[in-house]
Amino acid sequence: MPLMTPSIGSQLVDLGSALLLLTCFAIVAQRRLSACVDLFALQSVFLALTATLVAFLTGIHHIYIAAALTIVIKAIVIPRILKKVIERLNVSRELVMHINVPASLLICGVLVMIAFLITQPIISFGHLLTRDSLAIALAIVLIGFFTMIARQKAVTQMIAFLVMENGLFLGAIAATYGMPLVVELGVFFDVLVAALIAGIYTNRLQDAFDSVDTAHLSELKE
């Protein structure tokens, strides 16, 4: 603990969170799917680093385990699954977008502002050194959600979903220094299963419509 004062620690946690947010914007701006996956892996690494930092500063050991799991599952396993799906589907780019990249980035900026606006009253009550990260966590969740709406390919939507999950994880650390380990393990497992299921679903989508554009799903309506 003598190594860093709490204020420096807090600043470092904020830095980690900011890097997470930055990768979010990068994902929104990126058209190439494989690059999106890489950015997601990078974001997960940042998340793990931030979590490790928090664990180090607070001395809560189980966050280390969560951080390690983040590296293994979100930075290694899931990106591999996603890469395989992309390879098999032979789609490399998000060609048609509901909302183009500049407009998306602007909207994401607005979402960040909304997130800060919403969390302001809560943060002022907080006393944890991670409290500022809460706003960023919410912003990441909102951006993830927005990306799901704005992009058409199922793969991108999967990535966006995983980004949301990262945001939630950061939020949990920011608000309460992480959830109990059992819950976290459960969540990791869920995310892994969700990624697998979404992978299969994307393959089926390709088989059914010769495309992974989820807009085709509206054809299923009567």
């Binding site: 959600f145 989820t214 509206s218």
Partner: protein, 675 residues
Amino acid sequence: MLNLLWILLGGYVAGILLPLCFPRQPNAQIITTTTPAIVATSAGVVLGLLGLTSSEPVTGSLASTIPLLTFAIRIDPLAAFFVLTISLAGLAASIYAIGYMQHFDGRASLPMLGALFNGFLLSMTLVVLADNGFFFLMVWELMSLLSYFLVVTEHEKAEVRYAGLFYLIMTHVGTAFILLTFIIFFQAGGSFAFDTFRHPEQPLPESMKTIAFLLALVGFGTKAGIVPLHVWLPYAHPAAPSHISALMSGVMIKTAIYALIRVYFDFLGGQFPWWWGFVVLVIGAVSALLGVMYALMEHDLKSLLAYHSVENIGIILLGIGAGMIFQTYGFKEFAALGLLAGLYHTINHAMFKALLFLGAGSLLYAMHTRNMEEYGGLLRRMPWTGACFLIGSVSIVALPPTNGFVSEWLVFQSLFLSFHIPDTFLKLMLPLAAAMLALTGALALACFAKAFGISFLALPRSTHARHAREVPIPMRIGMALLATVCVVLGLGPMVVVPLLDRVVAPFTGVSIEGQVLALDGWALATMDMEFSSLSPPVLALLLGGLAVLGLGIVAAFGGFVKRRYYKTWGCGINLTPRMEYSATGFVQPIKRVFSSIYQPTVKLETEFLHESQYFAKRRRFEFHVEPVFQKYLYDPVLAFVAALAGRLRVIQAGSLHLYLTYIFVTLIVLLLFAV
């Protein structure tokens, strides 16, 4: 007594689980699902009798982790009476099912049918035992859903699916009203325990009481099948397998009667303005009359019986409504009599309606059709079924010495006692209700003369009927059991009335056992012997004596008459089934008389021979009764809902992105609101 309850629970659960151990062995499946049910229902019968005779209500409860919910049960005389009713009918249905379920081998999953059957009985038992509003709603909903799945057992038929959907929607509308009723009580007491419903911290204001009364009437009335909420009943009850129809029509609709008594006399403390009772009375009279009138026009035996359920619920409500009116004016003994009459008819109807449905099931089993026009001449081929069906018919049309007669007589008496009421309007209305009941009775007689006569007498009308065979023994035992109960309940009011008196006494505060039973229990009297009295056993003896006398005369003087066995004389032509009365023809006069109610449409097409217009080659006659309630009440509502749904369809575009956007916008808006 709680030990018995565990046996009951264990039996039903075993009946649900055991058949799963025997895949692909239909006989083992049937035995393992019906035997536990027989054990459980027998335990239920004993439990009901013990509960009726015990001095203090027995309670028990299990806590749950869900807030506001405790699995609390309470066995007071009212609950015990309904447990007895449910278990008796359930026992007969379980025995009957041993034979009847073979009918479904290969057409439906037997373990599923057995499990639903057991679960249905269990949920009905728990409905009447529940002592917590939340728990009650849970088991009530369970009962509705299980019976829905039972209704759609033969889901490959389109009309069965329609009946199921209709039932599902109606029962959920009813549950919504029940939920609102309970929420009103919950608001006053802050807990779902029935004890706080009874004694809330601050008493409910009058306006809330009135709302609770109306909500409960609509909610439970939907399940009971009161007019005009009865429309689902003639579709859903016949669609289910017959032993289930017997339970649905005989017992399930009675849980609504239980709940109405529980709410009005227990929770609301039996304090109500006169018009509450009057509303119940009017609904009862209208249900009774319209129920039997529509029943007359049915040629599908099971639909006919289902309409009769509407009629009998009406008769029960006549008794209860009269009781409520007397309660308002402080005539406690008369109130007790009305309530007692209603409850007596409840168990009677449960028995004879279950019996009749089992009888209809036997005919269906033997002939694979429910259309009465294809029956005929069955008494000779199926004597057991015929005899049981006859006893059921005699009971339902209230002829001595069966049970229907005693309870309907009591209902009449409680209506006639209205001359004590100071209000002139009611003084006029109650005898009017009695007149409607009398008309109902006459029409019911016509209806069952038709149902029994067309089905069992004369010549077979189809090859099915010609080759009909008597049903397996378990089915006969099930019917015979109920037939016996019908006769016993009719001959033994001196046993039944004291038990019912224990049920009614807590709600009216007086015991009327001494006033209803006279001559050491061998006669029934209403209040005093001078007003009216009746002795069912003596009546039965007289009837028996008359029969013996008649036979005796025949035996004494018959010797002089020369006997000759020959075909019935048919004016020189050989008799054929086509000369018989058809079911449609039989009710033609009644249809004419009440044509303003039926609004019938008749279509007659005649195809003539080419050579001459004077010779008809073929005639086609179609006749439909206008479904008035469906056309003028339900169709507009349905059309409105469908139109609304059509409008709402715009936002249901089927696009994933659109749905995500909805969620996203809602999330943002809610978050911004929170700031």
